[in-house]
Subunit: 658 residues, 2 copies
C-alpha cells in the first residue's frame, strides 16, 4: 500500500474500531492495565447509534461486578424472574399453559435482566473514565488497512498501518427513513454526556481530513457489516431465513395478564409473539410478520414496515386480550440470519469481535452478552502480551475459545427460533403438542447455557485439562481435577460466600476477584488446626518465598502478577491471622485470608462442600485474570504449577537476573 507521506502519522499499541459493547469492553479492559496506548474510533457521531440490545445474562453481570459497576445495573434493570407459556386451547383461544423460572436458580449471583444497551454503554464509558482510559473518537472511519507480515512476530513492532478518514456530520449520521418514531438505526434515548456532544462537534470540524495510525494490535468491533472483517478476507458461514420479524418497544395498554412477565404466545392461526418486560415499565414485543408486500424482485422492503403493521400483527396473536400503547419508544424489523465467521483473527494481530464474527436472532437475549464476553476474553491477553508478561502464543486461544461459543449459540438460536416460529394447525393437534412440548423442553435445557455460566474453554496454554479430542496429544495434563470437584478447568470459578478471617465480614468469593489483570492463586489451606496440614501450608508458603518460585520468576512492574487468596476450612475462632505466614498474609494486609464458616448476618456459603474440596487437605487453584480456571493441584505440586506457568507467562526482562 502506498499512502501519501504527508499525512499525519502516529503510533499506538492498540486501535479499536467500533464503540459498541465489544469495543467499549475492549477499551475498559485495556484501560485497566497501566501504560498501554489505545485509541478507539467510531464512524457514528456521539449522539446517534444503531442497535438496541437489552438482555443481560448472569455471567455478564458477574463481569460487570468485577469491573465495579454492577450495582448500577441492579438499580435500574428489570430482572427476569418468570417465563410463561401461552398456547391455543381446543377452541383456538390462547391460555397460559405453564410457568417456569426464567433462569437457573443458584448458578450465578445475578439473575437474567433486561436493560437498554444505551445504559450499558454509559456504564462502560464511566468505568473507562474512572480508569483514565481514552474517550471514543467519533466520526472516524478507516479506509485502508495494511499488515506487514514480516513484522507480526516482533515484540515491539507496529505491523499494522491504518488510514483513517474524518467524516462529515452527514456521513456519520444516517438519515431516518420516513418514520416519526425512532427505528432500528436510531436510539430512543440520548445517553451521551454534554462533553461527548462537544467532542462530536469538534470532530466534525476535521471532516474530510485523513491520518495514519500505526499500531501493534487492531480490534474490529465494527458490527455485522464489519469493514475490518472484509479487509482480512474472513467470511461468514451460515444462512439467512426468509422470515421477517418486527420489534416494538412500547408502554403498553392491555388486559393481557402476563405483560410484565417474559412469555411466549403461540396463537392458533396468527403466528407467535414474545413479550419481554423492560426497565421503566416498557415492554418489548417480538412478532413474526407475515403477508408482507414484496418488491418486483421478490424481496421484502423492510423500510416500508411501520409500527402500526407490527402492532396489528401482535393484536391478532394476543386476541381476545386487547393491546394498544400510549408510547412507542423504538421499533425495527429484521431478518433472521445465523452466521459465524470462519476465522476470528489474522496473524493474531488483527482480531474481530462481537457482531463482526457472529449474527443471530435477538430472541434469546444473547447478542450483547456474547459480544461483551468476546472482548472480555481477548482484552487481558493482549494487555499482558503488550506488557511482556505473556508470550504471543496465548493470543491463539481467543479464536479457539470464543468461536465454539458462537457456534453453540447459533445452534441453539436456530432451534429456538424455529420452534418459536413453528406453525400450529388446529386440525393437527398431535404435531401441535409435540412442537410446544419441545419448545418448553428446549427452554428448560438451555437455561444454564443461556445464563452464560457453562461456557467451557478447551485445553490450551491457558487451560490445563484432559482433552476431549482423541487425537490431541499436545496437551500434557498437569492438574488433579479430583481435588476440587465443584471447580471445572476452563470454566469460570463459581462464587460462594466465605468470611474474612480478620473482621468476620461475609464475602462472595467473586468479589475478591476484580478484573484488574491479576492471576489468582487460590489456596484452599484446609484445616489449620490439623498440625500436619499446617506444615503442608507452611511448606507451600516457603516455596512461594523461594527465589525460583512463580512469584519471583514472573514479577510485574505495576501490581503483583499473582494475587494470593487463602481460604481455610475453619473454625474461624480457633485460628488466628498469625497462623498464616508471608506471602499468604503480610503485615497490615487484612483481605487475603478467608474461612469457610458461618456468618453473623449472611447465609453460610458452605464453600468447601460446594467447591468439592477436602476440608483437611485442601488444594491450590490457579485462576486467570478473567476468572476462568487454569490449573488445580496439591500443595506439593509446585513443579507442575511451574510447568503450567512456563507455557503462558513470560519473565520480565528486569526480573531475568533472578
Amino acid at each position: 500500500m502506498d499512502h501519501p507521506t504527508q499525512l499525519p502519522t502516529s503510533e499506538v499499541d492498540v486501535v479499536i474500531v467500533g464503540a459498541g459493547p465489544a469495543g467499549l469492553m475492549s477499551n475498559l479492559w485495556l484501560s485497566t492495565f497501566k501504560g498501554l496506548s489505545v485509541r478507539i474510533i467510531d464512524k457514528r457521531t456521539a449522539t446517534v447509534y444503531a442497535g438496541q440490545a437489552d438482555g443481560l445474562v448472569g455471567r455478564t453481570q458477574e463481569v460487570f461486578n468485577s469491573f465495579g459497576f454492577e450495582e448500577r445495573v441492579l438499580k435500574i434493570a428489570q430482572p427476569m424472574a418468570e417465563f410463561s407459556f401461552w398456547e391455543p386451547d381446543r377452541n383456538g383461544q390462547i391460555f397460559r399453559s405453564s410457568r417456569t423460572a426464567d433462569g437457573p436458580p443458584n448458578m450465578s449471583r445475578f439473575q437474567g435482566a433486561v436493560l437498554h444497551q444505551g445504559y450499558i454503554e454509559r456504564f462502560l464509558k464511566d468505568a473507562i473514565k474512572e480508569r483514565e482510559g481514552p474517550d471514543v473518537e467519533y466520526g472516524m472511519q478507516p479506509d485502508l488497512l495494511q499488515v506487514d507480515e514480516s513484522m507480526v512476530e516482533g515484540d515491539d513492532s507496529h505491523p499494522i498501518t491504518l488510514r483513517i478518514r474524518h467524516l462529515s456530520e452527514q456521513e456519520s449520521a444516517p438519515s431516518q427513513f420516513g418514520h416519526t418514531i425512532a427505528n432500528g438505526l436510531f436510539r430512543s434515548t440520548n445517553f451521551s454526556t454534554s462533553e461527548e456532544e462537544d467532542q462530536a462537534i469538534n470532530t466534525i470540524a476535521k471532516a474530510g481530513t485523513q491520518e495514519i495510525i500505526k499500531c501493534k494490535y487492531l480490534l474490529g468491533c465494527d458490527g455485522a457489516h464489519s469493514w475490518i472483517r472484509r479487509q482480512i478476507g474472513v467470511n461468514m458461514e451460515g444462512d439467512q431465513t426468509d422470515f421477517i420479524w418486527g420489534v416494538l418497544d412500547i408502554h403498553p395498554l392491555t388486559d393481557f395478564p402476563d405483560i410484565r412477565s417474559r412469555c411466549s404466545i403461540h396463537s392458533a392461526r396468527s403466528g407467535s409473539l414474545m413479550v419481554v418486560p423492560r426497565e421503566n415499565e416498557l415492554v418489548r414485543l417480538y412478532i413474526q410478520l407475515e403477508d408482507l408486500e414484496r418488491n418486483m424482485d421478490g424481496r421484502i422492503d423492510r423500510s416500508k414496515i411501520t409500527p402500526e403493521d407490527i402492532l396489528r400483527a401482535a393484536q391478532k396473536i394476543i386476541t381476545p386480550y386487547t393491546l394498544q400503547y400510549d408510547y412507542c419508544d423504538w421499533f425495527t424489523a429484521y431478518q433472521i440470519g445465523q452466521r459465524v465467521s470462519t476465522r476470528y483473527t489474522k496473524f493474531d494481530r488483527v482480531f474481530i469481535l462481537g457482531d463482526a464474527c457472529h449474527t443471530h436472532s435477538p430472541k434469546a437475549g444473547q447478542g450483547m452478552n456474547v459480544s461483551l464476553m468476546d472482548a472480555y476474553n481477548l482484552g487481558w491477553k493482549i494487555a499482558q502480551v503488550l506488557q511482556h508478561k505473556a508470550p504471543r502464543s496465548i493470543l491463539a486461544t481467543y479464536e479457539a475459545e470464543r468461536r465454539p461459543v458462537a457456534q453453540e449459540l447459533i445452534e441453539f438460536d436456530r432451534k429456538w427460533s424455529s420452534l418459536f416460529s413453528g406453525k400450529l394447525e388446529p386440525n393437527d393437534n398431535q404435531a401441535e403438542d409435540g412442537l410446544l412440548e419441545e419448545f418448553k423442553q428446549t427452554f428448560e435445557d438451555a437455561k444454564l447455557f443461556v445464563a452464560g455460566i457453562t461456557v467451557t474453554y478447551a485445553p490450551s496454554v491457558l487451560v490445563d485439562k484432559t482433552s476431549h479430542q482423541k487425537n490431541d496429544h499436545s496437551t500434557k495434563v498437569l492438574s488433579k481435577t479430583d481435588l476440587a470437584k465443584g471447580i471445572h478447568l476452563g470454566m469460570r470459578i463459581p462464587s460462594y460466600r466465605v468470611l474474612n478471617q480478620a473482621d468476620a465480614r461475609s464475602w462472595h468469593l467473586q468479589d475478591r476477584l476484580p478484573s484488574n489483570g491479576q492471576w489468582r492463586l487460590l489456596i484452599f489451606a484446609g484445616s489449620m488446626i490439623d498440625l500436619a496440614q499446617r506444615e503442608r501450608v507452611l511448606a507451600f508458603a516457603d516455596y512461594l518465598l523461594s527465589p525460583l518460585s512463580i512469584l519471583n520468576t514472573y514479577a510485574s512492574e505495576d501490581i503483583p502478577l499473582f494475587d494470593i487468596i487463602t481460604v481455610h476450612s475453619g473454625p474461624r475462632t480457633e485460628v488466628e491471622l498469625s497462623h498464616f505466614p508471608p506471602p499468604l498474609r503480610k503485615m497490615s494486609e487484612y483481605n487475603n485470608v478467608f474461612v469457610d464458616d458461618h456468618s453473623y448476618l449472611e447465609p453460610f456459603g458452605d464453600a468447601y462442600k460446594n467447591y468439592g474440596v477436602d476440608s483437611i487437605r485442601g488444594c491450590v487453584v490457579l485462576i486467570r485474570p478473567d476468572q476462568y480456571v487454569s490449573w488445580i493441584g496439591d500443595l506439593e505440586d509446585t513443579d507442575k504449577l511451574e510447568t503450567f506457568c512456563r507455557g503462558c507467562l513470560r519473565r520480565l526482562p528486569s526480573s531475568s537476573s533472578l
Copy 2:
C-alpha cells in the same frame, strides 16, 4: 429589631442554617417536594469542615435506601460484623475474652457500617442535585433573628426575619492550631467538587455584605454551639465530665489480631481503648487520656494534645502487642458532655436539629445517625404544612417524637461511656469481673436500640395508639393493633420480602416505600381465593372510590397523597391481576399488587407470618411518609381511618368543592 431598610431582602419558605448531616438531610427531604423555596447556608467555606462522624446504623441506611443512594454506601463502607472484648488476665496481660455479633441479626436489611462523614455529605448533596434542590451557600452567617409572634399561626405568612452576613475567607476558615496532621476542625479528605470550590470563591467576593431573608420556617442545624438555639433562648441540660478522650484515624502497623474487628480493650492499669475498623483500611482508635498537663486554672488545654500523645496512650493499653502507623488521617481530643436541649422549637416556626439539640460521646456511633433522623422526622412535616396538605398541629410532634430519642441516647451513652472508662484494679478482681460483665451485657441489650430500629414515637395526631401515660385522656385509640402483631404503631414498619403479582419479582417491602412524600395505605388483602374475603376487599375498594373517601377528600396537586399497596396471601398462581379492582390496581400499573409467596430466586419473606397478619382476613395499615406506622384497622374500619386522617391531613382548597 430594626434593620436598615436598604439591605437586599428576599422571601423563601425555609432557611436551613448549617450544612452538616442534619442540614443536608433537611434539604434533601424538602427538595423531594415540588414547589418549595429553600435556602441552605453555612458559615464555613466549601472545602473546610468540622466534625468527622462515621457510624451508620441499620435504620439510617434504610432511610438512605428510601432516597435511592444506599448502594453507594454498601459499595465503600466497612460493615461491622463482630465485636471482640479484650480484658486483662490474672497476670494483667490482655486477652480476647469473648466475641459477639456487632448488631442484631435480621432486624434491619442493613448492618451497622462505618464510613467517613464526608462521603455521606457527598451522597446527600448528589441526591439533592438529582432532585434539583438548592446548593449550599457557604461563607454566610446569620447575625440577627426576629420572629413576629403575631404571625406564627398564619398560613402563608413569613414571620421570621433573618439578617445574614457574608464572611471573608479568614472568617469562614478556622486556622489550624499548630499541627501538621488535620485535627478536629479539619477534614482529611476533600470531598467537594470543583463546582463547589468555584462557588466558594464567588461567595468570598461578597465578603462583608449583608442581606435580609424572610421565611416561614427556620431550621437550626448549626451544631453543638448553635447560634439559632441561643437566639430562641433554649438551654442544654446535662453535664460535662472531666475525662479527655483522644481519637486517632490511622493506617495501623500492628500484630494485634483484632485490629479489623470492632473491639474494646480494657487494660489492667492503662485505661481503655476502642478499635473501630473503617473504610479504605483505616482504623479509628478512641482512647481515654490520662496524666494530662493542666493550665493554671486547672483546665486541660486540648490544643496541646498531639497524635503522638494519643498513640503513646494506645500503645500502653495494647501491650504486649505493638502498634505503630504509617499514615495518620486525622485526630482530635474531646471531653464527654451528655446534654439535651430543653426545647426543640420556638412557636413551631424555628426548629433546632442534630448537634444543636443533643451532644454525647461518639463511642456508640450514634451522633450522625440521630441528627439525620431528626431531619428525616421533621422535613416531610414542614413540607406538607407548606403545601397545605397538613395542619400546623403536626409540627408539635417533632419535639414530642425526637426529644425522647435524644434522652434515651444520652442515658445509654452515660452508662456505656462510664463502663467503658471504668477502672480495673488488679487487686480488686471481684469488681473487675462485675464491671466487664455489665459492659458486655449493656452491649448485648443495646444492640436493637443502637441499630435505630426500636425508636417508638408516642401517641399524637400522627400515631394512633394507646397512651402509656396514665393521665393522657386526649388520645382516642382508633386502631386494632391485634390485627398485625408484627407491626407496631409509632415504629417504622419492618421489611420482609414479597413478590410482585405481575412479574414474580421479589421485593423487600421497604423498597416500595421510597421517601417521596406519599402516605401509604398498605392493604393486606388476605386470601383472594376465599370468596367472602374477596367481597370484603371489593367493598374496601368501593369505599376508596366513593366521593367522600380519604383518597378523594385529601387530594394532592402533584403526586397522589396516598400510595396504595396491596399484599395478598396467595398463592400467586391462583390469583390474577384482574381480581384487583381500581384503585387497588389501575390499568397499566404493575407495581401495586404483591403476594406473600415463594420466589424463584430470593428467600421466602413469609410476610403474613412475620407481620402477624391473618392470612384470610388481612387488615389495613396506614404508614407515614417516613415509614412510621400511624394506624391499623379492619377493611371495614373506614370511619376510624377517616377520623384518624382528619387529625393530621387537610383538604386542599381546590378539593373543598367535593
